[in-house]
Every structure is written in structure tokens, then in C-alpha cells.
């Protein structure tokens, strides 16, 4: 069942990420910064306007050019005139685009070639990408765009976009398998002796913490033993995704858990665990009857049912938003500090910005662990409440 949880969460995320407009996606129009002519340079007074008829047009243009050159020489790179400076909202909207998921691959099913990879961005006749941003091609914004673009050329069929959040989830799952299998295999080979090795000890301390201080206090030892692998998987999966978001994995990287679709997938697996474990423990009808406490006046039961159903739905939503917002907020703050460099337009601001960014980055590292812990601990409490209702 724990392996199933690794499979279910990315599949649900795959479905949810195609929903329109993730919450933290800036949709506003970005106006291109006003370039070119300096704004409102006063007309050269004095000799030029005194004799307009005698000086030719070329001379007037020559004077304007000299004025522009003087203005460029007067100002140092840091304090240029107002005309070229992007507005704060443009700076931050451009920076926050890094938090949006981007397509890294596309799979096409059907059509003339069966199943195969296609380019996830539109290309011109020579095969070069149509839209480029920082030398990276800008991909299709939705699956329907992909389908519209390729359907005629491939003779029908249907395509699926693979985003960076998908690849990060697969990398986290692969890291889970590799790390856990390798470390436990080397420990098992030293059977009979105390296990050695730093990786083993780090992993053991975290695993024992999850088992002894998270699962057993809530569920007890006998019930908890059945659920420990499940919550260990969930904890390490979320932890690895959070940590991969702090690393630079290039085009295929990003913070998967900062996207609400991914965290909603994880929260829906928790909801699944709650009901499946409750039904396995108590039977189908008794599990639903456990929502209503004993000894309640009959006329209150419809209200209690409504309140319990709302509570049951709100808990995964809270899990989703808590994890996604915590991970996004850290990145937003770091990106905002970088935006200060563009706002001031000087190099001197770089040193304090670097210091502040590193401080917030360390806080983000702490938040990664705490949020994985909170998500898993709340899942343990909810599943424990469904297996052992204390009414």
C-alpha cells in the first residue's frame, strides 16, 4: 500500500495540473518597458530656438543627439533616467514566473506513428522554437493547445504534456527507492554487527523518530505497526520533493510541492487512506456510522452529518494549501530579494541581498522538514481517528 501511495499521488497531480489557472500564476499583462527616446527632454532653449529657420533639420537632430549623449554620460549606471526602469510589478511578475510549472516533454498517442515523443513547444518551418524566453523555448500552455497543434499533422490522436513537476515527482520517487534500498541493503549485509555508515545512521534516526514519536503515540504499537511503512513513505516522499525544490536541477527541476495540484494529490491520498483503513477496520457501513457520536439527540444528527462531511472535506484542503503556501512563500521571498537588485538598478545592493537571501534560504530548509513532518503527522492523526474513533 505504501508503494501505491507513490503511484497515486503523481497520477492525481497529473489530472489536477490540467485544471485552469493554478493560484499563484500571474495572469496580468506585462507591459514591455518603455525604451528608446528619453521622456520629456525639454526642447533645447537658447540659440537653437532663436534661429530655427537658419539651422537646418540636420543640425537640430545633431543637437538632440548631443543632448542625449550628454545625459548618458552624466548618469552613472546605477542612477539612470526614469525611462528605462521597469516598474516593481513588472519585475516581480517576471520573477514569479519561475514558480509556474513548465512543460518539458510531450507524448503523443495515436496518429500515424503510434506512441512517441513530440516537441512540447511550437516550431517554425525550420524546426526552431517559435517563442524563446531566456534562450528556453516557451511551451504550450495547456493540453488542448498541444492537441490543436499536432492533431492535423499526425493524422489524429491525442497528446499529453509532461511538466517539470511531473519529472520532479518521479525523481523524488526514484530517490526514495534508491536511497532506502541501498542503505538498508548495506545494513542487512552486515548482519550480526552493529550497522555502520553515516547514511544509515541519518536514515535510522529519522525513521525511528517517525515510528516512535509520530506513529506509536497516536496509534499505539500494534495498530501502528501496520501503518508505519505508509507514513514513512509519505514523509520521505514529501521531504525529498521539498528538498529538490531547493536544488537547481535545471530544466527538469522545480518545486513540485509548491504547486497546489501536487499537494492536492498527496492530500487526496491521505483522504483515501482515511476511508480505506476505516473500512478495512470496521466494515463499510460501520465506518460511516462512526462519524456520528453516540448518545446524541436524534434531531441533531442531520446537522452533525453536515458538519462532519464539511470537516472531512476541509481537512485535505487545509493540508493542500498549508504545504503549497509554505513552500511557495519561501521562494517568493527569495525572489523578491533578487527583485530588489532590479528595483535599485545598482550593483552595490547585491551584497546585502545575497546575505538576506541566504538567511531566508536556511529558513526554507528548516520549513521543508517541518512541513513534511506536519503533513505526515496530521495524516497519522486523521487515519488514527478513523481507525480508533474515540467517541
Amino acid at each position: 500500500m505504501s508503494l501505491l501511495s507513490i503511484l497515486i499521488a503523481p497520477l492525481v497531480a497529473l489530472v489536477l495540473q490540467h485544471a485552469p489557472a493554478a493560484p499563484v500564476m500571474p495572469q496580468g499583462q506585462v507591459k514591455p518597458p518603455v525604451a528608446g527616446q528619453p521622456a520629456a527632454k525639454p526642447a533645447p532653449a537658447g540659440p537653437a530656438s532663436a534661429e530655427p529657420a537658419q539651422e537646418g533639420v540636420l543640425d537640430k537632430l545633431q543637437e538632440q543627439v548631443e543632448h542625449v549623449e550628454e545625459s548618458i554620460e552624466e548618469h552613472e549606471p546605477g542612477e539612470h533616467a526614469e525611462h528605462g526602469k521597469p516598474s516593481p510589478s513588472q519585475i516581480f511578475q517576471t520573477l514569479f514566473k519561475h514558480l509556474e510549472p513548465h512543460a518539458v516533454a510531450a507524448v503523443w498517442f495515436g496518429g500515424s506513428k503510434g506512441v512517441g515523443f513530440v516537441k512540447p513547444y511550437p516550431v517554425d518551418a525550420a524546426g526552431r522554437p517559435l517563442h524563446l524566453e531566456h534562450d528556453e523555448p516557451v511551451g504550450f500552455q495547456s493540453g488542448s493547445e498541444l492537441n490543436r497543434y499536432y492533431a492535423s499533422g499526425m493524422g489524429g490522436g491525442w497528446g499529453l504534456l509532461i511538466y517539470n513537476i511531473n519529472t520532479v515527482q518521479w525523481m523524488a520517487a526514484a530517490a526514495l527507492l534508491v536511497v532506502l534500498l541501498l542503505v538498508t541493503r548495506s545494513a542487512r549485509r552486515q548482519a550480526g554487527q552493529a550497522p555502520r555508515g553515516n547514511a544509515y545512521h541519518v536514515l535510522e534516526s529519522i525513521v525511528l523518530y517517525v515510528r516512535d514519536d509520530m506513529v506509536y503515540p497516536v496509534m499505539g504499537k500494534d495498530v501502528g505497526d501496520r501503518f508505519v511503512p505508509l507514513f514513512l513513505t509519505q514523509f520521505f516522499f514529501i521531504l525529498f520533493m521539498n528538498l529538490f525544490g531547493l536544488m537547481n536541477l535545471g530544466h527538469y527541476g522545480g518545486t513540485a510541492t509548491a504547486n497546489w495540484a501536487v499537494t492536492a494529490g498527496l492530500a487526496l491520498t491521505t483522504l483515501l487512506f482515511i476511508h480505506v483503513s476505516g473500512i478495512r477496520e470496521h466494515g463499510f457501513f460501520h465506518h460511516w456510522k462512526n462519524f456520528i457520536p453516540h448518545g446524541l439527540p436524534v434531531f441533531l444528527i442531520p446537522l452533525i452529518i453536515l458538519v462532519e462531511i464539511i470537516g472531512m472535506l476541509v481537512k485535505p484542503i487545509a493540508l493542500t494549501i498549508r504545504l503549497a503556501a509554505n513552500l511557495t512563500a519561501g521562494h517568493l521571498v527569495v525572489l523578491s530579494f533578487f527583485g530588489l537588485i532590479f528595483l535599485f538598478g545598482s550593483y552595490a545592493i547585491g551584497v546585502p541581498v545575497l546575505g538576506m537571501s541566504i538567511a531566508i534560504y536556511c529558513l526554507e530548509l528548516f520549513v521543508c522538514f517541518v512541513q513534511a513532518y506536519i503533513f505526515t503527522y496530521l495524516s497519522i492523526i486523521f487515519v488514527g481517528a478513523s481507525v480508533h474513533p474515540e467517541h
Binding site: V24, Q27, Q371, Y373, I374, Y377
Partner: protein
């Protein structure tokens, strides 16, 4: 039109500020209670530290719900 766009931005900013008043005040009270409890009973420091972290994360989660609403306002309006 410009007035409306400006008001949306103002609302988002003021909302985020108000949210942090509530969140910061709540976590401060939690921290104060935790310090006092550790001072009274130093051997319970481990338990108290664990509970403090969890409760602080809950309060921060609620604060971030408000921040997400403000971000939705601020970033999804055409500037």
C-alpha cells in the same frame, strides 16, 4: 479602471499586513507560554519543543491561507 486596479493592490497589501498581525501575535503568545513552561520544568523541554513547532506550523498555515488569497488578488489582476 486605474482606480480599481490600484484598490485591488491596496487591498491585497493591507490584507497581507493584517494577516501577519494575527499570525505573529498568536505565535508570539505560543512562544511566551513555551518559554515559561520550559522554565518551570526543564526536563519537559523536548516535549514542549515538539508541541511548539507543530502548533506554530498550524498558526502559520492559517496565516498563509490569507497570504494566498492576497497573492491571488494581486497577481491575477491586469496591471
Amino acid at each position: 479602471m486605474d482606480m480599481n486596479v490600484g484598490l485591488v493592490g491596496l487591498g491585497a497589501g493591507i490584507g497581507a499586513g493584517l494577516a501577519i498581525i494575527g499570525g505573529g501575535g498568536g505565535i508570539s503568545r505560543l512562544a511566551a507560554a513555551a518559554m515559561e513552561a520550559i522554565a518551570r520544568q526543564p526536563e519537559a523541554a523536548g516535549d514542549i519543543k515538539g508541541t511548539t513547532i507543530i502548533t506554530a506550523a498550524f498558526i502559520e498555515g492559517v496565516t498563509l491561507f490569507a497570504v494566498v488569497v492576497c497573492l491571488l488578488l494581486a497577481l491575477n489582476t491586469a496591471h
